[in-house]
């Protein structure tokens, strides 16, 4: 049984079909990539998975049970964590405070929550910034904080939304390394990206969409050499290979 199944997912905003009949499944312990050019509907799919937007049609099944229509906080408690493409730090709280707040999802007491928050910050390499206000972190730090917060909720499935966007090459390598560490801890990752380097380096399988519709699925190599995918990213001039 797949950990997450997205079945015939359709999301319309009035007349605009942002996601059109997309289906895929994510197996446990894999890193599954969702790629497509800007505006293709990738983040909308995430927003449907954790019911940030209600689904228009189709179903989302997590660990064999449908989660469509469940409140967002309940979906988090069931084991799906997510980061946001445009990072949402809790600005006027400290870094430690940010992660403690999310650790209360599982922790019973203040000591437990703060302890767990500290451990997660160590894991993500943010411990030395723990008393800084979240708004004082640069973008790379905020993105890592976003991940740390999601990790503190002890997810089985982590949705990473364009974690690599805006990072310089050093930060990018560090981000990829962190993703590997997360996968090695036994957390399944569903990652939305449009930076090829990240997808090619770490994904097990990739699903490509454009204009809300599926255009390819398979190993990174297979998808990257698919002419329809190349056309979507680079225009038909390049599609002939």
């Amino acid at each position: 049984m797949a950990l997450l199944e997205v079945k015939n997912l359709t999301k319309s905003f009035g007349g605009l079909r942002a996601v059109d009949n997309v289906s895929f499944h994510v197996e446990e312990d894999e890193i599954f990539g969702l790629i497509g050019p800007n505006g293709s509907g990738k983040t909308t799919i995430f927003n449907c998975i954790n019911n940030y937007f209600p689904v228009t049609a189709g179903d989302i099944v997590f660990k064999g049970k449908t989660i469509k229509g469940l409140k967002t906080y309940k979906i988090c408690r069931l084991g799906i964590g997510r980061t946001f493409q445009v990072v949402k730090p809790l600005s006027r709280m400290t870094v430690l405070g940010n992660v403690t707040a999310s650790a209360f999802c599982r922790a019973r007491t203040m000591e437990e929550a703060q302890g767990e928050a500290y451990r997660v910050l160590e894991f993500c390499g943010l411990v030395h910034e723990k008393d800084k206000l979240a708004k004082s972190l640069p973008l790379g730090g905020r993105k890592r904080l976003e991940i740390a917060r999601a990790l503190a909720t002890k997810p089985e499935l982590l949705l990473l939304d364009e974690t690599a966007a805006g990072l310089n090459p050093t930060e990018l390598d560090a981000a990829i390394e962190l993703m590997r560490k997360i996968r090695d801890k036994g957390i399944t990752i569903l990652i939305v990206e449009h930076i090829m380097k990240v997808i090619m380096t770490i994904s097990n399988r990739v699903h490509a969409i454009n204009f809300g519709q599926t255009i390819a699925e398979g190993t990174p190599q297979k998808v990257a050499s698919n002419p329809v995918v190349i056309e979507a990213y680079l225009g038909d001039g390049y599609a002939q290979g």
């Binding site: 954790n50 906080y73 709280m93 999310s102 999802c105 929550a113």
Partner: protein, 320 residues
């Protein structure tokens, strides 16, 4: 002993002994009113400063608490002091309804909805004469002749309210409230039931504000819709107390209460009888100027920006 604990100890002694040392009815009254505003301001601060839901309608809860106490006399025929317990509870029930309507709104829309709510209650109280006696108001015989018992009741209420808010903010709820304030959507994605916690914040705020309203009924002996459901004198005053004292601090509203009551009285009495007569007309103007000053220079209020105040005072002392 740590400096902070020393301040608390001295402050505690001062407040405990105050009415036994200062016998003047006039000053006792001012401090009692300031304590009541410390409660209303702290309650407002819990919802607005810590949870980010800026209410312009706290008169809803104050007035409801006051009328609950009054109705114990006019309808039930028992002492209005029952209102101290039940005023808070009835305000919570009202808060549930207010929450159902307003908590689905954000930011300025929430503010406007609560403002409208306050006005609705005021108009309802004016017109529902069979329940509230309308503009005739409710007049009761005060239980105590001296102000001293009222002082200690107000003090106890203030200590209870501030302490409960302090405990809430130190624990999980504190983290959750601030998370909701900073980014409600992120909070929801982190497993926080934002609907539940917004309600917890609102209902706690309503409870203590209602209790303060019930106290007002008992202490002043007379209420009417224009007094207790007033936008200017209750809802806006609560906001000013919070802003001037320091939003999102535990003691800010208490400090703000004393400052605002002091300023209000200073101007109403034309600087305690010393200044020219026209100054008593200026108090609304002064409130506005005070708020502008605070927003420009002391955005975190007197308590929140206390380090900044200390530095400025030191700098002034050094240059003279």
């Amino acid at each position: 002993m740590k400096k902070r604990n020393l301040v608390f100890l001295v402050g505690g002694v001062v407040f405990l002994l105050f009415p036994l040392v200062i016998h003047s009815d006039y000053y006792q009254h001012l401090v009692i009113i300031a304590l009541m505003w410390a409660v209303v301001g702290s309650s407002w601060n819990l919802l607005a400063g810590y949870t980010g839901l800026v209410s312009f309608g706290h008169a809803i809860f104050f007035g409801t608490g006051a009328y609950t106490a009054g109705l114990f006399i006019t309808k039930v025929g028992v002492s209005a002091w029952w209102g101290m317990m039940f005023g808070g509870m009835v305000s919570v029930l009202i808060g549930l309804i207010v929450g159902l309507i307003c908590l689905r709104l954000r930011g300025p829309y929430f503010a406007l909805a609560t403002l409208a709510g306050g006005e609705i209650f005021r108009l309802a109280a004016i017109n529902w004469e069979s329940l509230t006696e309308g503009m005739v108001g409710i007049l009761i015989i005060q239980t105590f002749q001296s102000k001293v018992p009222y002082y200690y009741i107000a003090l106890a209420m203030t200590i209870l309210c501030v302490y409960v808010i302090h405990l809430l903010m130190k624990a999980k709820w504190g983290y959750y409230f601030v998370s909701i304030r900073e980014d409600q959507d992120a909070a929801e994605s982190l497993g926080i039931n934002t609907t539940l916690y917004k309600n917890v914040s609102l209902l706690t705020s309503a409870f203590f504000t209602g209790m303060a309203g019930a106290f007002y009924m008992n202490y002043m002996g007379f209420i009417d819709p224009e007094v207790v459901y007033s936008l200017h004198h209750i809802s806006i005053m609560a906001i000013l107390v919070g802003i001037v004292g320091g939003v999102a601090t535990i003691l800010g509203p208490a400090v703000g209460a004393f400052v605002m009551v002091g300023v209000q009285e200073a101007f109403r009495s034309a600087l305690f009888g010393v200044g020219p007569k026209w100054i008593s007309q200026a108090h609304a103007l002064v409130f506005g100027l005070l708020v502008i000053f605070v927003i420009m220079f002391l955005a975190n209020g007197i308590v929140g920006d206390w380090p900044k105040i200390k530095r400025t005072v030191l700098r002034i002392k050094e240059s003279t």
